[in-house]
């Protein structure tokens, strides 16, 4: 499974990068979302998989190995929550941007940074 997941993770990275490279802000945001999930899955996989056995102690406080490494889980939990916060804010910002400018085409926004809107992209 790890090998399969490794390939899957690579694919998620590739998909999300492809989305991040689009002109439409919506696609970029979807790329952000997907990227975050790819990273989570990477941490989960890279730390090693242990089927079915969560790190829950028995009532007497003992636990026999093998059990799933709880640390990456905690890290991913934190990362998921943080990613959600970032995504929510990004959406809000996009909403506001759309309200102010009426577009989600990032190329139309570049003039805010550089003159020469007519110049073709390099």
């Amino acid at each position: 499974m790890e090998n399969l997941l490794a390939i899957t993770i690579g694919a998620i990275y590739a998909f999300s990068f492809y989305l991040l490279l689009r002109r439409s802000l919506v696609k970029v945001i979807l790329g952000v979302l997907l990227f975050g999930q790819g990273v989570n899955l990477l941490i989960f996989t890279a730390a090693g998989l242990t089927p079915d056995r969560g790190a829950f102690l028995k009532e007497d406080g003992s636990l026999q190995p093998p059990y799933a490494d709880p640390l990456p889980q905690a890290l991913i939990l934190t990362a998921i929550v943080i990613g959600f916060g970032v995504l929510a804010f990004t959406l809000a910002m996009m909403h506001r941007l759309h309200r102010e400018t009426g577009t989600d085409d990032l190329d139309e926004l570049r003039s805010d940074e550089f003159d020469d809107p007519d110049k073709p992209a390099p």
């Binding site: 970029v28 975050g36 990273v39 890279a46 730390a47 506001r96 941007l97």
Partner: protein, 512 residues
């Protein structure tokens, strides 16, 4: 000690929460200032403590390293926290009259506090994942601070800022996952211990490179800096000033920490790459500034260029070069923040900081002119101001390492930096205001009618502006006049950085 180490994050967090609860704008302002002052005082005490007792660590939750999270202050991080506190306090004063009441209503002060919290946390933590969390705390509040105001430019700059910084964070997490998978630890000192003594070090080289890219984005290295000039000129001045002071420096700090502590097994590879990138960063930054005519844009590009100097010292990777880097960071933070504040004062006086539309400030506001000259000439590296010593220390090390190309680039960039500073000076201060009738020279001969009488329509600057700008100029002058004390600190910091065993010892074997 336990207390002092957490105060720099605890105080801003609590004040941020309280500020969210309090509706009264006036009370908010006072709490804001008081909280920043307290943060500054706490960070000053922390530095004193570190200077007295050496590297100190606190095992949060009382779980020994590497299992829990360790907060650790060595001289470098304590210095960084102190400068954060100082800049936080001074920019907070400036912000009182700078941001609109709508900003204040929408949580500006809370966000500002959280920014300070995130930055301080990033400096103090000894845990890689915790570093990521502090990065996010800092970034989240900076996202909001940047977008607050919601003008088209802020938002479109903000989108770029956000997406690129998100990329940085995700690459960081990717690297983190790989590092955990290889070493089974997140504690930096522990990771250093594991990696230095095994082939694992080499096999985690990709992770190291990913970290370099991730921190490089945050620090604003070539070719990853695009988010910075795209966004820094858009928010209110106090926001871009505190950004300029802290954000990129957190990236530099992280680079320094990771590449002096953890990844030092293939210095000829990683650090040589750093040198190359630093040189290009210096050049591209300064050339970017040469193309700009808006004060804050010029200054933004200069941040990038100066970051190159800092990472160059890291790339040299000798004790003296690291000391130069530390000195450079501190000097740069003070000077660059001040320049941003002055740019704000110029906009306040003239309605814009667009160099082609303004002028005449030399006659109208001589004090501002003087206060501008101090940081500007310091940035340009004119002795005996602080920037000269920073560059001097670095170039001296470059000469003794026979890194001629680096020396050449560093000095050439210095010349171009000075050129940019004189551009601002000549355009904003010397040149006559475009609304006056062009060049009517005073002539070589004495002019019977003094023409410098201030026009009555000129708005005056609030006292808070003067206070912040003057205080920062005073700090610059203090560093310039007595550079030795800062060099002492920097050398101490560099000594600790270049012999990580003390740091590792302090983290892994401290009692608490």
């Amino acid at each position: 000690m336990n207390l002092l180490l957490v105060l720099p994050i605890f105080l801003p967090l609590v004040s941020a929460a309280i500020l969210l609860l309090i509706p009264s704008a006036k009370l908010q302002r006072w709490i804001h200032i008081a909280a920043c002052l307290a943060h500054f005082a706490a960070s000053a005490l922390l530095l004193c403590e570190v200077l007295r007792k050496g590297i100190t660590a606190s095992q949060l939750g009382n779980w020994p390293a590497p299992f829990g999270i360790t907060f650790v202050a060595d001289t470098f991080s304590a210095m960084m926290v102190l400068i954060t506190g100082l800049m936080g306090f001074l920019v907070a004063i400036y912000s009182l009259d700078d941001v609109s009441s709508e900003h204040q209503k929408r949580g500006f002060y809370s966000l500002y506090q959280v920014l300070l919290m995130g930055v301080s946390g990033a400096f103090l933590t000894g845990d890689l994942f915790n570093l990521f969390v502090w990065f996010e705390v800092m970034l989240m509040s900076s996202f909001v601070l940047l977008a607050l105001g919601c003008s088209r430019h802020q938002l479109s700059g903000g989108v770029k800022y956000l997406v690129l910084n998100f990329l940085s964070s995700s690459l960081f997490l990717t690297a983190l996952g790989l590092i955990y998978s290889v070493t089974g630890t997140l504690n930096m000192a522990d990771a250093a211990n594991i990696l230095k003594s095994s082939p694992l070090g080499i096999s985690s080289m990709s992770a190291a490179m990913l970290l370099m890219v991730s921190f490089g984005i945050k620090a604003g290295l070539f070719p990853l800096f695009a988010w910075l000039p795209a966004s820094y000129h858009t928010p209110p001045v106090s926001v871009s000033a505190i950004f300029a002071a802290l954000l990129t420096k957190v990236g530099v700090y992280a680079l320094v920490r990771v590449f002096t502590l953890i990844f030092t097994i293939q210095v000829d590879f990683t650090h040589d790459i750093l040198i190359g990138i630093s040189l290009i960063t210096m050049l591209t930054g300064v050339l970017g500034a040469a193309a700009q005519y808006e004060t804050r844009k010029i200054l933004s590009f200069h941040i990038i260029s100066q970051i190159g100097y800092m990472t160059l010292g890291l790339g040299f990777f000798t004790e003296a070069a690291l000391a130069a880097t530390v000195f450079y960071i501190i000097h740069h933070i003070v000077v660059k923040t001040n320049l941003f504040l002055i740019a704000g004062a110029i906009s306040k006086l003239k309605g814009t900081a667009e160099l082609k539309k303004i002028g005449g400030l030399y006659a109208e506001s001589p004090w501002l002119a003087l206060l501008f000259l101090i940081p500007a000439m310091s940035l340009g590296g004119i002795p005996p101001l602080s920037g000269f010593f920073a560059k001097f220390a670095l170039v001296k090390e470059g000469v003794s390492l026979h890194a001629w190309l680096s020396v050449f680039v560093a000095l050439a960039v210095g010349i171009l930096t000075l050129y940019s500073m004189t551009k601002i000076w000549a355009e904003a201060f010397w040149k006559a205001s475009p609304n006056e009738n062009g060049d009517f020279g005073l002539g070589d001969a004495p002019d019977p009618t003094p023409t410098s009488s201030t026009t009555p329509s000129l708005p005056s600057l609030p006292a808070s502006f003067w206070a912040a700008i003057t205080a920062m100029a005073a700090v610059t002058l203090a560093i310039s006049s007595w550079p030795q004390w800062l060099f002492d600190l920097s050398e101490r910091a560099a000594a600790e950085l270049s012999t990580p065993s003390h740091y590792i010892q302090a983290v892994l074997h401290s009692k608490q």
